[in-house]
Symmetry: C2
DNA sequence: AATAGAAACGTGCACGTGCACGGAATGAAA
DNA sequence: TTTCATTCCGTGCACGTGCACGTTTCTATT
């Protein structure tokens, strides 16, 4: 690997000049610059990462993470990934501040401002889907504070990267699993959180698309909304099962899986109903192990937490963006055996 | 984060002395050492990783990778992970040499010796299961050349880490999928590579264990060995299907999946037979997409290739071992939708 | 008490990069 | 020719660590 020093020697100039050319900060004669660029190209110069990070940590890096409070157990898992990366980055003299807030545009804006006043160098954000947030992200970008979105993306914003699921594909996969795990006439009920939330409707669309294309033996009987709430979910699912005794499959496209399963058990239908769900929080892990939930599709919360921070850190130290702006985590299927 | 310099100043000694104490290379008065250790503990000193890597690359690191030649397409995927990491590590002035050899103890020993004569600082190895190899690994360890095993582990050896599947668990998961994806009386045929190969028998044992415990509707009709060869696999599977017309499920526990599927299609049984297999090489990806293979369990070859090198590099630069000696890759289920 | 020898410790360089400061060369105007 | 400003470029330090070398202090022996 070529170093700046080597290039400088070959070009007969000093390291400083090479640095100016490579990071084009001007004040170099065109002829000299050309010569240096030529040599750099010939030697295939790539900046040494250890050197970059070392130089970058003159200023002790401060990163901020904003995600939703742990009313949602999913974010506990994301947090584990954040914690892991926090510890790792600590070894690079980089500190990570975490703020868990309610899912609320105003609070989110306030949290961002607070981080700015604390002079963080970059932010990982699970954005609320509002134009104010998108505008704020662009402001931050202009101020030189890069933002990485995690779990949920946001349109019309110059976030440097997104780390999370492809929700439509996850829905399709859920449909595929239900298709493979059922035979004969199937009457499927679908439980989603809310039709207002993009992630939920994306999954729903994917599911319907797959069923429609490949599995005509499955008929969608009813779609209900449980607001991601277990109590609500219990009652609505119970009502659904009573109203449609022919239902023999359920797809939980979002939260409230625990409450829904409880309703299935309360009706003693757990052997008659094939349940497909998402994620594998501790609360429902037992249901997966016992086969009450046949399969679940996970969005790798740990990876989301750790990777988003990693991307931000690399951007700030090495000035390096990931190849893909959209870093989709794999659609991860779990059944009783590999949960 | 505390630095050596800070500790030195607080202890009223020089950086060199602190270095000697922290890396206990002796020649420091007990009282001084104690004082330094105390301060280091109080400040929670952790060596800075960027500094470590920078210091380590005075000697240009050379790593060696030995895996089996691409007669086996699985290792092409592993190679992609190796290539990725190779490029990344290049940015740390670390070069990676790769050697693909036949699955043969003598050749493997020769390849190792060759790497040693080229003065590599560490080796990633897919080991042949032979005591000579284990002994060689221990020799290398004593010479200060650490070895990370990938894909297959080896007993009684002081490899610093293993990166690969838990084969028994993967087999159990295959059983679980077949159980979930079939109804009624099932007669299952099993095709493995060889009973001599530990990975294959581990998967088989896991599969049988799961079926025996949870899915009495599945009866294992016959177990055949195809030596991981597609031509062999085609003929044997064809014979199997002819001999047992009642077979309506197949588990391919190892290679030769392509040949086996071809036999199923040749018999026009693809709609009657539920096929579960492992891995998703390009060759069989079409079968997965078309639903001829209902599900496949992957061992994340890319991760195996990249992670093993990463562990080795971290060990050599930061002197850091992963928390777990056994780094199992997740049991990764794929169906048509998420392949 | 003198001296050798060992133990204990300090100093400086290397690793690769970024950046501030200052010096040298160049050109234009007086 | 001198003066001045601008462009261009070299030098040195910082970041954190490891290690070779050199120097000082202590202990033991004559």
């Amino acid at each position: 690997m070529a170093t700046i020093k080597e290039i400088a020697e070959l070009a007969g100039v000093s390291r400083g000049t090479v640095d100016r050319v490579l990071n084009n900060r001007g004040s170099v004669r065109a002829k000299t610059a050309e010569k240096i660029l030529e040599i750099a190209k010939a030697l295939d110069y790539k900046p040494n990462k250890a050197g970059l990070t070392l130089a970058a940590q003159k200023r002790r890096l401060k990163l901020g993470v904003i995600l939703f409070e742990n009313s949602n157990p999913f974010f506990d898992e994301v947090m584990k990934g954040v914690r892991y990366q926090q510890q790792r980055l600590n070894g690079y003299n980089c500190s990570v501040l975490v703020r868990q807030i309610a899912q609320n545009v105003q609070q989110q804006l306030a949290a961002i401002d607070d981080f700015v006043s604390q002079e963080v160098h970059g932010i990982v954000l699970v954005p609320c889907n509002a134009p104010e947030i998108a505008r704020k992200i662009n402001e931050l970008y202009d101020m030189g504070i890069p933002v990485v979105t995690a779990n949920t993306d946001i349109e019309h914003s110059r976030r440097i990267a997104y780390v999370g699921s492809n929700y439509f594909l996850a829905g399709e996969t859920a449909g595929g699993l239900m298709g493979l795990m059922t035979k004969g006439d199937i009457h499927a009920g679908i439980v989603i959180g809310s039709r207002q939330i993009l992630c939920h409707t994306d999954r729903l669309a994917g599911f319907q698309s797959c069923i429609g294309k490949k599995y005509p033996h499955i008929r969608i009987t009813s779609i209900i909304e449980n607001q991601d709430d277990d109590v609500e979910s219990f009652h609505l699912t119970e009502k659904l099962l009573q109203e449609y005794p022919q239902i023999n499959a359920l797809y939980f496209a979002a939260g409230g899986v625990y409450g829904g399963c409880k309703a299935v058990i309360a009706q003693n239908r757990q052997h008659a109903v094939t349940v497909i769900a998402h994620d594998k929080m501790d609360k429902i892990r037992g249901f997966i192990r016992d086969g009450i939930i046949s399969a679940t599709i996970c969005q790798q919360p740990f990876v989301q937490g750790s990777k988003s921070l990693d991307i931000l850190f690399n951007y700030l130290t090495a000035g390096e963006l990931p190849e893909k702006e959209l870093n989709f985590v794999a659609v991860d299927i779990r059944i009783a055996e590999n949960v």
